[in-house]
């Protein structure tokens, strides 16, 4: 479950479309995901398995159906690893300020 796999899985417009559709409505079947898409059922199945391999979606059985859920955990990891670190200096400053102010009360 490497970060490379996540970025590779995201580097495809069709797969991002599938994630967007799950973000709009979570827990869809393969049939529902195929509706109105300009992609063959086989292509959608292949993309879904790549997304599942990168842990970007989770599949759960509900009765006879297989439902697809977006998994926000790897996206959050990327956000923390690649976005939050550029804001970290602010966080440190805020945290130092908080400590200084709280110590004042002691």
């Amino acid at each position: 479950m490497s970060e490379d796999e996540v970025f590779r899985a995201l580097a495809d417009a069709s797969r991002r479309t599938l994630l967007d559709r799950l973000h709009r409505r979570n827990g869809q079947t393969l049939n529902e995901l195929c509706e109105g898409l300009d992609m063959s059922r086989q292509a959608v199945t292949k993309h879904l398995s790549i997304l599942e391999g990168a842990n970007l979606i989770a599949v759960q059985r509900q009765g006879r159906e297989k439902l697809h859920f977006i998994n926000p955990v790897p996206i959050n990891d990327i956000a923390e690893r690649w976005l939050a670190k550029f804001q970290r200096s602010h966080l440190r400053a805020v945290s130092a300020l908080k400590k200084a102010l709280e110590n004042d009360h002691e």
């Binding site: 979570n26 989770a58 759960q60 926000p72 955990v73 959050n76 990891d77």
Partner: protein
């Protein structure tokens, strides 16, 4: 997942640890306080026991009941928000923790679902779980949480 679930979110993460360690980290106060912004759980950990999730200052955030427990593999909680009136009004949700060890890795799946369509509770926890799980993974794999502050 219940057949009647209308709003569901699923969180999956793979953590390099054992199921026993992960189980302790998920539910024991001395662990949860380290990666869950100081929060802890109060519970007797048996079927039918009442369950509480408390903030660092002791306020009760959520309450519920143990519906199923099979350490260190599976826990099912009834989950009722107590601190936001609009979420409390929705009534209880269900939260399932599944731990599936495979070699040196444990696959943790958390399924939080509500019988309410478009549940705001499920949307609200959606922002929280990924950060909590990143922190937990970091704590178990490196000995340090990513952050002790709420981002």
């Amino acid at each position: 997942m219940s057949e009647a679930a209308q709003s569901t979110f699923v969180y999956v993460t793979y953590i390099r640890t054992s199921a026993e360690k992960l189980w302790s980290a998920l539910f024991q106060p001395e662990f949860t306080r380290q990666y869950w912004y100081g929060m802890d759980m109060v519970c007797d950990w048996k079927v039918g026991a009442s369950w509480q999730l408390r903030f660092a200052d002791g306020r009760v955030g959520d309450t519920g009941e143990v519906l199923e427990i099979d350490p260190p593999r599976r826990l099912v909680l009834r989950w009722q928000n107590e601190f936001r009136p609009e979420l409390k009004a929705e009534g209880p949700a269900t939260c399932v923790f599944d731990l599936a060890p495979s070699g040196e890795i444990v696959k943790l799946t958390i399924t939080h679902s509500s019988a309410r369509k478009d549940s705001q509770l499920i949307v609200a926890v959606c922002g929280g779980w990924p950060k909590i799980l990143s922190n937990l993974k970091s704590l178990l794999e490196t000995g340090e949480p990513m952050t002790r502050e709420r981002l």
